[in-house]
Amino acid sequence: MSLPPSVPVIETEDLILRGYREEDFEAFARFAASDRARFVGGPQARYDSWRSFMAGIGHWSLRGYGMWMLEHRETGEAAGRVGVIYNDGWHEPELGWHIYDGFEGRGYAYQACRAARRHAAEHLGMNSIMSYIAPDNTRSVRLAQRLGCWHERDVELLGTPCQLWRHPAEQVGA
């Protein structure tokens, strides 16, 4: 069973967006400890990652939405996280993405973001959502551009300069 209960499951060509499982923690902690986590509050010791992992689950219970774990269909491995995060002090809910080592460069972030963005527009009442991007995170800037986003403005996120990128609206209903 994935956690927390009732997290909607979304399937894409290569990925399953689902809730968390305890066995995902290894991949989660490995990413959090890596240099690539520097844009998302890391690197972080495994010890502290436990708090973040459970906090990711708690976000769902508090908000009714959160980040999904990305399960790689072919191998069953945890390939990253994508979803809507709204932490205290943030400007508005954010579409965020973390892709774990070994799953980069295959278009998975794009695939998952498209699915999550559509879900947010259709089910969460969040259309034309935004993403925070650190100015020197060139890979994320490229992905944002590919997703059709534009650099709307510069903001401070809890005291740190940051760019706010705006996603195009999804066609909802029809």
């Binding site: 209960p5 708090r51 459970m54 990711g56 689950i57 708690g58 219970s61 205290d88 969460l124």
Partner: protein, 196 residues
Amino acid sequence: MTHPIPFHETPSTGATADLAARMQALIPVLETERLILRAPRIEDFDAFAAMVDGPRGTFFGHPKTRADAWELFMQLIGTWSLRGHGAWTVTDRTTGAVLGIVQIGAEPGDMEPELGWLVSAGAERKGIAFEAAQAARDHAFGPLGLDRLVSYVDADNIRSAALAQRLGATRDPDAEAAMPEADRCVVYRHAAPGGR
């Protein structure tokens, strides 16, 4: 609160509110003479942040900033999904006011399920923490079927040590010795009903 509630602390609406409510409904509600212990909600966060901001908060996860307090708050709730136990918001059963938080936790550094408590400045010295902790402990040994429960208390936290003793817990030197150096503290072991 004298300042306006910011948008990010207001509850979700629509489908997200429904999903959050369904998840929160899984968390048991405990009632005592003066208190109701219920699932933490987003609108409790400001009171929680105030509780952990200050000297008393150093005994509860040691959050240094409001962002740390936010992560701790989410973690305390997430524990329910992963472990089947977690944190309750302690409220006044008459007014609904948030008085504190009590948890059966699994925090980084814990070696066993942990009973922890924290009350707001205004709720101190009224036996609120005792009443809430007692209810959480009885729930842990009762419906949750836990076979052990400890409280980790900082060596200089005299009030929490006194409360642990009032709850009938006793120091466990073996458990203290088994703690990793960095997490070393006083360990109080709670007695399961019937005395094992």
